[in-house]
């Protein structure tokens, strides 16, 4: 047998083995790795050695390279770069040349009133978002789902998705043109002889304004996931409930909301994990107009302290603290969801 024939035969065997290899890896975990694996229908197959698998999967492995390279360059190496949070980082000395200062940066942060101001603003905004933003998509989805006319439904859906695709710069520009000091509303008010209202620059009402901006931009898009899970609820449940005499509100209470329970819990977990990142561009853009007293959040603090102010280590420390707390919050919220008997985000193996 010539070399090429042998090769093609080997490939054929490998190809035939593949579905079984897949089945074995998906099946219940075996106690010990055995030389021979047994498939569901009782056939014994040769367990492939890693060399064979490397050969068999070489093209697939090649396909993974660009992605892995990206992750390394723009995710994992920068994560290691967080070590400067424990240094007195000097740009011209670099990471290797700068002095180690232990937790000094975190101590400095702890005694920095600006940091706590940013922290407070972040929490305030997160609470506003939780109370005002979170329920809106759910309510919208219920309304849209109850529409009978497919035409109205489709039009409305495509319209409310649109603002999600506009940039924050654009959204704030639009808000300025309507609500700003020289905007449409204030122009009209002045024409009618009334004083202008500083919607866009008042620090006291800024959390409300920011939440309204967020609702305008993203509530429609956030609705999409509720709509999908509404569509997944079995229609015969509604029919049965109606036959038992349940009116529209009782059907919503006893069929619709239980059907949405797990998705609501899931989104809540995600929101809680994200509680320290209320949005970045939105606040950076309005930082000047409203003033840091109300518009400074943890992310903008990191930016101004680190990149603008040159306090690299301090900024990195703030960013790292925020990231770690956020990840811990997700784990905690996920745990709570499990206690409530919900799947949560990552108890289920992905794939």
């Amino acid at each position: 047998m010539s070399q090429t024939q042998q090769e093609s035969a080997g490939q054929l065997v490998a190809a035939a083995d593949r579905p079984m290899a897949g089945a074995a890896s998906k099946g219940p975990r075996r106690k010990k790795p055995a030389k021979a694996a047994v498939t569901a229908d009782g056939h014994q197959v040769r367990k492939l050695s890693w060399k064979t698998r490397l050969r068999r999967d070489r093209q697939m492995l090649l396909m993974m390279i660009p992605g892995v390279l990206f992750l390394a360059l723009f995710f994992y190496i920068p994560i290691l770069g967080n070590v400067i949070a424990f240094q007195d980082y000097q740009p011209f000395l670099g990471i290797t040349g700068s002095d180690w200062v232990g937790l000094q940066n975190f101590v400095d942060l702890y005694f920095d009133p600006d940091f706590w101001g940013a922290f407070k603003n972040t929490i305030v905004l997160a609470v506003w978002q939780l109370v005002l933003f979170f329920p809106v998509p759910l309510g919208l989805a219920l309304i849209v789902d109850s529409l009978i006319s497919t035409k109205v439904r489709r039009w409305f859906q495509s319209l409310v998705y649109l603002p999600h695709f506009l940039s924050w710069v654009l959204v704030i520009a639009l808000f300025q043109q309507v609500l700003g000091g020289a905007g449409l509303v204030n122009n009209t008010l002045r024409d009618m002889g009334m004083g202008a209202i500083p919607f866009m620059t008042n620090p006291d009402t800024f959390p409300l304004l920011a939440t309204v901006q967020l609702v305008w931009k993203d509530a429609g898009w956030a609705m999409i996931i509720f709509l999908a899970s509404l569509a997944a609820i079995d229609g015969s449940l509604y029919e049965a409930a109606a036959a038992d005499g349940a009116g529209r509100w009782r059907r919503m209470w006893h069929v619709t909301l239980p059907g949405l329970r797990s998705i609501i819990v899931l989104l809540l977990i995600l929101r809680i994990g994200d509680i320290l990142s209320v949005g970045f561009e939105q606040f950076l853009l309005q930082h000047d107009a409203v003033g840091p007293g109300a518009a400074e959040v943890l992310d903008t603090f990191t930016y101004f302290a680190g990149v603008v102010g040159g306090g690299w280590s301090m900024g990195a420390a703030a960013g790292l603290a925020k990231g770690v707390v956020g990840a811990l919050l997700i784990f905690a919220a996920n745990k709570v969801a499990h206690k409530m008997g919900e799947p949560g985000i990552f108890q289920k193996k992905v794939g």
């Binding site: 190809a15 396909m63 992750l71 190496i77 109205v152 319209l159 043109q177 999409i224 000047d288 990231g323």
Partner: protein
Amino acid sequence: MATTLHERRSAKRRSKGLTYNPNRPVWKEPASPFYNSIKALIIGGISLSIVLPILLVISTSLADDKQLVAAGGYVLWPTHPTFDAYQTIFSSPFMFRALGVSAFITAVGTFLALFITITMAYATSRPVMFGRPVLLLVLFTLLFAPGLIPMFLMIKQLGLLNTVWSLILPGTFAAFNFVVMRSFFMNIPTELIEAARIDGASDFMILRKIVLPLSKAVIAVVGLFYAVGFWNSFFNAMLYINDQTLYPVQLILRNFVVQGSPMADALGVATTPPPQSLQMAIVVVALLPILLVYPFLQKHFNKGVITGAIKG
């Protein structure tokens, strides 16, 4: 006498002269004018809040001086539309370059991003060597972010500061899009791929000839997400770009509209229409590409996102 719920309801409806609507479940109550008007109010209000600002901006950018002055700066419908503001903008080399930068990062970035996402998603959607560890590497990025300062230092280390690549490369992969793509690929029947393999197709060929043609919807959606992300990206530019000739449109929008910097000098144009309509014209230039692409891709949303997002 009608006995079942269905019969009773349809009899009632017929007696009221309501026609048959296939979308209305038989068990549903007849339409109530009260609830219907509340719904109409909510839906109409939301639609107006979206349409009005956009219409206002477009109309004002098209209005001529006279109408603008008479209306006090804002116009909802231009009576004598002119393109003066746009002419001024496009005659400015500054603005023209910005458009070029934005178009370049959007086109190149979307292409690169789709390439990375598709190859990676396909490879991890099959039971192959290192598939699971690589998947976990990606999913971890959903939980934690490296942070602003380390990213900045990395871009600096790579020598990408003040180049368009600093606007492209950090955005060429998003875990969410990866998850959508991957769950779509996992729904492609294994038999199809095995059959091709037995016929001697290589993995690359299977991806190109079988998987990609089946995935047009999801590629359109994910491509749109990436493209919109690149077109809209403003913060990266603010962070990494000092050179004014490399400003993308969003940064110009921020400087001249949101911050309200004076435009005449920067644009390098002598005679200018009223600043109001110039500002609006810049807003429209940033807005228009999205308004133009959106209707074509919007129909894929349901197919692409929902199947992906729910399973992911």
